[in-house]
Symmetry: C2
Amino acid sequence: MDGTTHPAGTAAAFERPAPDAVGEVVAGLRRRFGERASINAGVREQHGHGEGLADAALPDVVVYPHTDEEVAAVVRLCNAARVPVIAFGIGTSLEGHVAALYGGVCLDLSQMNRVLEVNADDLDCRVQAGVTREQLNAELKGTGLFFPIDPGANATIGGMTATRASGTNAVRYGTMRENVLGLTVVTAAGRIVRTGGRARKSSAGYDLTRLFVGQEGTLGIVTEIQLRLYGVPEAISAAVGQFDDLRSAVQTVIVAMQHGIPVARIELLDALQMKACIAYSKLDGFDAKPTLFFEFHGTQAGVKEQSSLMEAIAADHGGHPFRFATAAEDRSRLWKARHNAWYAALALRPGAMGFSTDACVPISRLADCVLETHEDVERTGLVCPIVGHVGDGNFHLLVLFDPADADERARAEALAQRVSLRAIRMGGTCTGEHGVGVHKLDALVAEHGDEAVDLMRTIKQALDPNGILNPGKTVPARRRE
Amino acid sequence: MDGTTHPAGTAAAFERPAPDAVGEVVAGLRRRFGERASINAGVREQHGHGEGLADAALPDVVVYPHTDEEVAAVVRLCNAARVPVIAFGIGTSLEGHVAALYGGVCLDLSQMNRVLEVNADDLDCRVQAGVTREQLNAELKGTGLFFPIDPGANATIGGMTATRASGTNAVRYGTMRENVLGLTVVTAAGRIVRTGGRARKSSAGYDLTRLFVGQEGTLGIVTEIQLRLYGVPEAISAAVGQFDDLRSAVQTVIVAMQHGIPVARIELLDALQMKACIAYSKLDGFDAKPTLFFEFHGTQAGVKEQSSLMEAIAADHGGHPFRFATAAEDRSRLWKARHNAWYAALALRPGAMGFSTDACVPISRLADCVLETHEDVERTGLVCPIVGHVGDGNFHLLVLFDPADADERARAEALAQRVSLRAIRMGGTCTGEHGVGVHKLDALVAEHGDEAVDLMRTIKQALDPNGILNPGKTVPARRRE
């Protein structure tokens, strides 16, 4: 063992396994899985990173299991040999979650992609971890049901579960925390455990389901997910409201949330992001001003009532009259522009790289947090548009930087760090929906304190005593003095 | 040590501590807490049971802490001496949660009853564990906010957190699982840990908050709770619908839930329970027929729309026209009758004792589960009215029996056991809201299986290695072969 630790020095007590141990595991997997165990360099490279900034760290082998039992067999082999095992969905995570920091086995779950059952009468379904959210909604067509959680990327349900994802609809429908009813999980010992159930509520024992939602593959490998579904609303209406200044837009959100308007989506784009979207998505007729995108779900009368209330609140804060989109194609054009905000932002500065912050604060602090962050950005001179799921108090700064300019990158990372700490100082969280991965280990401690992080460490130690499950992620392995 | 195990043989590997150890702890507590550490027999008796059927099991001493630090000091003392420590709120639990099966220290948290902060703008608050839900709502008067979770009893927020309670409003507002944002918990080692936060969502690390919601004092002592609050609705309307048969009433509920009507309360009373309530609460003008009590929250127009939709669905199922109550005093009279259902039921058979089952099933199985249970009751010849939070698929059989008749009691307990297993067989849970305590340890295993229960045991062992926290509850200590 060479005792290598992750270069960032952030995380793990895990020691890289001896080459012999890894070699034996790889050979064993190739015997068992044949072509479904790949050591191809390109395949390994593709599995060594998500969409975030983390440097790629390659697994030694990528395995494509088809069943829970196959997953369990791989994990048992790895556990016996003390070789890391890292679950992989479709590679859209943002915080370095899938980087194989200590090598090992990447479990690519994308071929476990069956929708196992849809219980239309109970508004629930059971899917394998590799099903993507777009696939699920495509398979639900015609049932009158949909799955609302929408993080933007076409992530797998397994990955969304592992990161406790949310996105644009969470203000109304909740996050993965609220929408996972039960799980099948493979433990570090290679046991197959079913958690939760199909009842809407239960007081039967410890909430194992919630323990595995957001654990980022460090406590177990999620292979199946029982999900809540929702009836497609009778009426859906989208609206866009523009404001002369950022504070007015944010105050509109705060008042709307305090009034309890059951808006389905309420998304902020600052003037810079709006400028980028107008250019990128050809959004004619809009100005490069702070903007809110809304969506209302309900009955015909309910949607009309919600949108009138919302427009009145916006007008109270100096907002311009809303532009409405009720036809499906108009709504779809608007939301496509919102979903393409990231690419629009990148187009502001060709050649730049970017990453996203993920602050989430109590709604009363949203204006302070957004405006202080906006001023902070201005002082840095960086190009950083703001978008956000502001109904939850969650917003992203899209931080662009020149990858050839080490100083600029350092300033970009320092800015991101300040955003995390600002959110924490305001009673919020460093990550509303992206997760901890490798990048937010320090912020996790700043947010929860040593005692809570010690407790997380105790749980990690109990459930994964050899530390093979996604080592170096989510919880720092040692208390730093 | 005498190695006594609980008479029911259900639970614990815990061994009763040596009398010397207990004596020393009691003496130490009396020195530190003076009159706030009571060994009075009456006080101990009062703290040895909740409102359920469990035989009283007396703690050796009852301590009334005032601060988190005092709680931590008591737990540290107990942990060092291997003496049990049992958290106690107001004694309304139903499954024997507070029985001191192995003696030890009862931590009565009722004097930790301050509402620490109310953040009206963020719709949240922080309370000490001993605050009751009625006290909280009284203190919220004038803020325009309320705390909706209503299990009937005036339980403490700490107790409701520990049992993952819910009640009549859960169909709209969720359970304690959804409404606890964060906690302060004293661990078995006597450390004070803060979990969660005030942001509405977070992906920062393991969900410690949800792990402590529903742990029944077996993993830690909850001392403070950060709660979601809600704006008092602009309009509230109650309605009562009566049906000629039970199936029609239940089918009305199923269709309403599948349509996604955001009803705030939807409560079933079967003909027998309705007969009892008419007699007990002088509900004039109603028949002893299967009945649904509804409450609708929203805007004036929204409430009207919801109630019209609901009445139309009821009419489709042969329901009689609704009787509405919009004036606060009329609503209050109706809900008081609902809350007194338990006393009304007991009055059906003077001298009888009773207990409540707690099945909760996926909504599509609700009719099957209720009707099979109803037939089961008829076969037993017992008197058992049915009430239920049927919007969640949750219903209670109030099982009455003659305490002097051992055979009848055995039949009553066998009936309750069948109800649990029926719910589990239908994809549901043996306990929707009451918890496991000592009575549902076997049902827990039947529901979740050995692998999941082993995982719960692993967590218990990691967080409470000496097993001092409420021993004999929630999770069976050993796998039974």
